[in-house]
């Protein structure tokens, strides 16, 4: 792997370096260079088509988001009507656009809630279920079941619980009358927490499944050694298991961060992401599909989201990469 990175330079067709065929003196021993012209074209196409699709539909829009964020464009009048206005969208975002800071705060609350409650709970369940107790399969299934459901369905299922008049909670509390009902999804001081509970219902199972898979590959000898040394179960977990599980811990950390930044469906389904449920993702969406299509301004919000996401993504990719090289 490493020598490939070291040699990287200008564009080269896939078949020309290292591996099976090599048309130039490679540092490694030369193998049978049997790749015909047709094979080279085949390899080019096999790598080229997927790259083209990702390039056009993911990378190009990402770059375009950045460029458009410096323009005032409402999408009318073709690309010629794009006017660059410097940082105005960003200063407006901070100074004028009221939902911006609430959205940023809500994304942060989402992240903290996941980091402190949902993710640790999922890990905790995984540790308990790893003990091979009776009925572990049943418990696993119960906790993991919400993972297959769409967030849209999760939203609907929890509406049945939160609805003011017909919902489970208010019916149990006897607070279904107009005067005294609790508006779990309508009250801006409550609704974020209400949908965080619904989101965690799914996140806990997700983390549990991933962590359990990691624990299964954990060497039981290590744990036994610790218990022979007189360590309690809690000590064994924090001093032995958790550090050894570092790679999977990082995966779970990144997933938690990414999922928090991607939060969208539940907020949008509940009230289009308004009135207490503003998130960066819903602001971007509302700036395109609303009555006023503000492409430039929407892009600026998207860039904020991008800047926040890039950190954890790069961190994760470098980890994955280093592991690969080791």
């Amino acid at each position: 792997m490493t020598d490939r990175v070291a040699r990287s330079g200008n564009a080269t067709p896939p078949a020309s370096a290292g591996g099976v065929a090599s048309s130039r003196p490679a540092p490694r021993k030369k193998r049978y260079s049997l790749l015909s012209r047709r094979d080279k074209v085949t390899l080019w196409l096999m790598a080229g088509i997927p790259t083209l699709i990702v390039g056009v539909f993911i990378l190009l829009p990402t770059a375009a988001s950045i460029v458009l964020s410096f323009t005032s464009w409402n999408g009318i009048g073709g690309f010629g009507a794009i006017k660059f206005i410097g940082l105005k969208n960003y200063t407006d975002l901070v100074n004028v656009y009221q939902p911006f800071f609430p959205a940023l705060t809500h994304n942060l609350i989402w992240l903290v809630f996941f980091l402190l409650i949902a993710t640790p709970l999922g890990m905790f369940f995984a540790v308990l279920l790893d003990k091979n107790i009776r009925g572990t399969r049943v418990y696993q299934s119960a906790l993991y079941m919400p993972v297959v459901l769409s967030l849209a369905i999760v939203g609907f299922i929890w509406q049945l619980i939160y609805a003011p008049e017909q919902g489970l909670i208010n019916n149990l509390l006897g607070r279904t009358d107009q005067g005294n009902q609790i508006s779990w999804l309508g009250d801006p001081s409550l609704n974020l927490w209400a949908i965080l509970v619904a989101a965690s219902w799914r996140q806990v199972g997700y983390v549990m499944v991933l962590y359990l898979a990691g624990l299964k590959s954990f060497d039981p000898g290590l744990r036994e050694a610790a218990s022979i040394d007189g360590a309690s179960e809690v000590q064994t977990f924090f001093r032995v298991v958790f550090p050894v599980m570092r790679p999977i811990n990082i995966v779970i950390l990144v997933i938690t961060v990414i999922e928090s930044l991607r939060a969208f469906d539940l907020a949008f389904i509940t009230n289009k992401g308004l009135n207490g449920l503003e998130l960066l993702s819903t602001l971007v969406t509302n700036n395109i599909i609303g009555e006023t299509s503000r492409i430039g301004f929407g892009s600026a919000i998207a860039v904020v989201l991008l800047v926040i996401s890039v950190g954890p993504i790069i961190f994760y990719l470098f980890r994955a990469l280093r592991e690969e090289n080791e």
Partner: protein, 295 residues
């Protein structure tokens, strides 16, 4: 881990185990409760719940809510839309990602690593980062007639299929290339010695060996694409073309006017994924974990 100490230690352990069981049972019940509540509500006619209250065991139970939500909500139409988007998307993404994974994992060339990184990174982005320009691209790119009735990608099944393929490509490539790396390289060389072309090596040597990973990924992708709510919301304007998950939001309010109908509609839409849960749990979980661990 058998206890040899016996006596009090063993009893303590038994008590701890019982406590653990009680805790896990409680949590499991809490976890399935929302779904059980939805199922229970869905079997009760609205008139009954209005009369006895939602929290009650009284009145009659029937399938009326299912029949009504299915017919009034025109669910078959939306299920059909989902199938039209989903089936080609899953086949295409697995096909393209397996080719990509094949080239980066079986042949060394200088962009392997950077491409893998870019692909995986692209998959981790929040979709909203790209949606604004993507919306414009969908309005600008032409699309040929049988696949598009307005000459564009916007407001078309094919557009939604393509964005799913593009967005899921990174994850599938990542998982498949990790999997293919575990297949001995000697197999490639043997195939080449036998005079097999690159395509033949891919199609008849490597791909068949990748089948377990493909099955797991297919299960995962079917579930994820089925569950997607976002893309159609922005990239389609005709509500009648919406896939089922995106359509739910419009159905609420328009047809699903009470909790009983919402419950039945939700269960109906959840059924395909619940089938995955009950029948293909192993595939689904191994797909998830293939992406995070490297076993």
């Amino acid at each position: 881990m058998t206890d040899i100490v016996g006596g009090t230690a063993a009893r303590q352990k038994r008590i701890r185990r019982a406590g653990l069981q009680a805790f896990l049972i409680t949590m499991s019940v809490i976890w399935v409760l929302p779904l059980v509540w939805a199922v229970y509500t869905s079997f009760r006619p609205y008139a009954e719940t209005a009369k006895y209250g939602y929290v009650s065991f009284a009145g009659i139970y029937n399938l009326d809510n299912y029949v009504n939500s299915f017919n009034q909500g025109e669910l078959p139409k939306y299920f059909f839309n989902t199938v039209v988007i989903l089936v080609p998307a899953v086949i295409l993404v697995l096909f393209l990602a397996s080719m990509m994974a094949f080239t980066v994992s079986r042949y060394s060339w200088r962009f392997n690593l950077i491409l893998l990184m870019v692909f995986s990174g692209a998959n981790l982005l929040p979709p909203q980062v790209i949606i604004t320009p993507l919306y414009r691209i969908f309005l600008a790119l032409p699309m040929i007639a049988p696949l598009s009735d307005n000459g564009l990608l916007y407001d078309q099944y094919v557009g939604i299929t393509i964005i799913h393929v593009a967005f899921q490509m990174g994850f599938c490539t990542f998982v498949l290339s990790n999997y293919m790396k575990t297949i001995p390289r000697a197999l490639n060389e043997a195939a080449v010695m036998d005079g097999a072309s690159v395509w033949k090596t891919y199609w008849s040597v490597i791909l068949p060996l990748t089948r377990p990973a493909l099955a797991a990924l297919a299960t995962l992708q079917v579930t994820w694409i089925y569950n997607d709510f976002f893309w159609a919301l922005v990239l389609m304007k005709t509500g009648a073309k919406y896939p089922i998950t995106s359509a739910l939001n419009n159905l609420q309010g328009e047809f699903f006017t009470n909790n009983n109908l919402i419950a039945a509609g939700s269960i109906l839409v959840a059924i395909p994924t619940l089938v995955v849960f009950f029948a293909l749990q192993k595939q689904f979980v191994s797909g998830l974990t293939l992406g995070s661990t490297k076993e």
